[in-house]
């Protein structure tokens, strides 16, 4: 799968190259951060390490692909008035409507998974819960594989590979899209945490029994955490699917490992239960990865192809040596 993204840019002068690398790092970091927030909200709300995040993210991207490609199906009434041009790339508004729908479906998937697989196990040790999420990941596998094993499925990105010229650097619209998406996600999560259910979720995270004693319905909070978590990782997957990221505007088998494993160093760095931590962790990991890919490229023969993909894990190990709780995590997490 090795990364078109991570191949070094043709040199067009120091500054444009640097700027391009920086923006690429920010864009990839935005995607990691959104996925990280999706992971963190599940951990915060339900004390579950969600190792199904990769599978759920894939499924979310698949829902998107199904909606944008097969929207001519009669049971999708919105498709006809909005998309007489079935088979061609949709307009941006129609694409966005599909995006919202795909996220809603992903959220429902998250809530259903929580209800059938997580809720009955509430109160079990952290490790058992983590194994259950691994089970979910495995169970989602065939669905994701069957849908994508033959061909990658298009996400019908309206702006394709278009880019803006800026100070001599080419800035792909997808990069800007990823950053905008991350900012929106971050702002809405912050708003959510001030809302009635958001405050309830933080209360449950701090002291579940005391939250119950206030009449907070813990099951409902769990459900919301999984719904939001699923929608967020789906955002990450869909925006990672855009060119010029390696999937080149598709959802395919090849993005699954990235979705499943790259989020781990991000949230371990950020500290499992911290939303700002996920943001900074994502930006840091992605920048390290992208800058190493760009500026260590002449050592590829020594470092080995694809060396930049292990950079995140190296960064994670170094930070953990200095700060075992991650950059922003609370120390209490060590209890678990």
């Amino acid at each position: 799968m090795i990364d078109v993204l991570l191949l070094a840019q043709e040199s067009t002068g120091f500054f444009p190259t640097f700027l391009q690398t920086l923006i690429k790092g920010l864009a990839l970091g935005s995607i990691y951060a959104v996925m990280g927030i999706g992971f963190v909200i599940v951990f915060k709300g339900t004390q579950v390490l969600n190792f199904a995040a990769g599978g759920i993210a894939m499924a979310g991207a698949l829902f998107m692909s199904i909606l944008v490609n097969d929207a001519g199906l009669p049971f999708l009434p919105f498709s006809n008035p909005l998309a007489p041009e079935i088979g061609t790339t949709p307009s941006i508004p129609r694409w966005l409507i599909n995006l919202v729908l795909a996220l809603i479906i992903a959220a429902i998937l998250g809530m259903v998974l929580e209800r059938i697989a997580i809720r009955p196990m509430i109160g079990q040790p952290l490790f058992s819960m983590a194994v259950i999420t691994l089970g979910i990941e495995t169970a989602l596998g065939p669905f994701n594989r069957d849908a994508t094993s033959l061909t990658a499925r298009s996400l019908q990105i309206p702006w394709g590979l278009e880019q803006w010229e800026f100070l001599g650097a080419g800035i792909p619209k997808s990069y800007v899209g990823a950053m905008v998406a991350a900012v929106l996600c971050f702002l809405s999560i912050n708003l959510f945490f001030r809302s009635r259910f958001g405050v309830a979720m933080r209360a449950v995270a701090f002291d579940q029994e005391a939250a119950q004693a206030q009449g907070i319905n813990v099951g409902r909070v769990f459900s919301i955490a999984w719904g939001l978590g699923a929608a967020l990782v789906a955002v990450g997957a869909i925006f990672y699917g855009m060119g010029p990221f390696p999937p080149q505007g598709t959802v395919s088998q090849e993005i699954h490992p990235v979705l499943a494993f790259r989020v781990l160093p991000v949230i371990i760095l950020g500290g499992l239960d911290s939303i700002p931590g996920a943001l900074y962790g994502g930006l840091l990991i992605a920048s390290a990865e992208v800058f190493a890919g760009q500026y260590l490229a002449q050592w590829t023969s020594v470092l080995g192809a694809g060396y930049s993909t292990i950079v995140p894990y190296i960064v994670m190990l170094i930070v953990l040596l200095v700060r075992p709780y991650g950059l922003f995590g609370s120390e209490e997490i060590r209890r678990v």
């Binding site: 209360a203 002291d207 579940q208 029994e209 206030q214 009449g215």
Partner: protein, 263 residues
């Protein structure tokens, strides 16, 4: 009215902690539930507010009736909605939430009354108003106890259960907590006051129960219990030997009874 009859609670399927407990809290009254460490007071509070699940506990026999409705196995959220709130032992404020947010959690079941109850809480505890944007975790024990009581008030309960609200507070603050409880009661909320500080509890209680090993061993009107020699000796330490191991309340009674036969 809250009526607990012959309640048995078992932890971990084996440890029988409440052995046929019966108490009543009539509407509008303050009822004290006293007992030494491990008597089962907190367990009684948990059973009444549906929190046993969190501790692998179960009500295996008996009933808890609230205004004619059986709440023995109801969910905590339904019990709060039905009008019973608990101020838990150890305050249990949400340390990472601000004072305002803590109060907001208390209003979770009672959105409509949030504004009115918030004003009432702040009027009662001006200290909380000063600190409304501060994280609860950084407040003193006394302030946290006020917050915990205020948080319970946000649900506008008809019955408030307080589990050792005076624990770890300086005498002046204990007084203040007592006055606040009286005030809340005077506004129409029944109170079940769980305490080890018998003096404080009985001084405002209409009725008191003394429990030991999961059962009620004595009950009576507050003033009467306060005047009772056994209670005085055992709970108020008025005649007790300061140094020795605390005897069981029942031992005291047996001893007295035997003395009566002997004389």
């Amino acid at each position: 009215m809250l009526e607990i009859s012959n309640l048995e609670v078992v932890y971990n399927e084996v440890a029988l902690v409440l052995r046929g407990l019966s108490i009543e809290v009539p509407d509008g009254s303050v009822v004290a539930l006293l007992g030494s460490n491990g008597a089962g007071k907190t367990t009684t509070a948990r059973a009444t507010t549906g929190l046993l699940d969190n501790h692998e506990g179960k009500s295996t026999k008996g009933t808890i009736m609230w205004n004619g409705q059986d709440i023995t196995h109801m969910k905590p959220s339904s019990i709060v909605r039905a009008g019973i709130s608990q101020v838990m032992e150890g305050r249990r404020c949400f340390g990472e939430l601000t004072v305002d947010e803590n109060l907001a959690t208390g209003a979770f079941t009672n959105k409509d009354g949030a504004k009115r109850n918030y004003d009432r809480v702040m009027e009662l505890f001006p200290r909380l108003l000063e600190r409304r944007k501060q994280l609860a975790g950084y407040m003193s024990g006394g302030e946290q106890q006020m917050l915990a009581i205020g948080r319970a008030m946000m649900a506008e309960p008809k019955l408030m259960i307080l589990d050792e609200p005076s624990l770890g507070l300086a005498p002046l603050l204990v007084q203040q907590v007592r006055d606040v409880i009286s005030l809340i009661n005077s506004e129409g909320t029944s109170i079940l006051l769980i305490e080890q500080n018998a003096m404080m509890a009985l001084s405002i209680a209409d009725f008191g129960y003394i429990m030991e090993n999961g059962k009620i061993v004595m009950d009576g009107e507050g003033q009467k219990l306060l005047a009772d020699d056994d209670v005085k000796e055992f709970y108020l330490g008025l005649h007790g030997d300061e140094s020795g191991e605390r005897k069981s309340f029942r031992d005291v009674k047996h001893y007295k009874r035997r003395k009566k036969w002997a004389s």
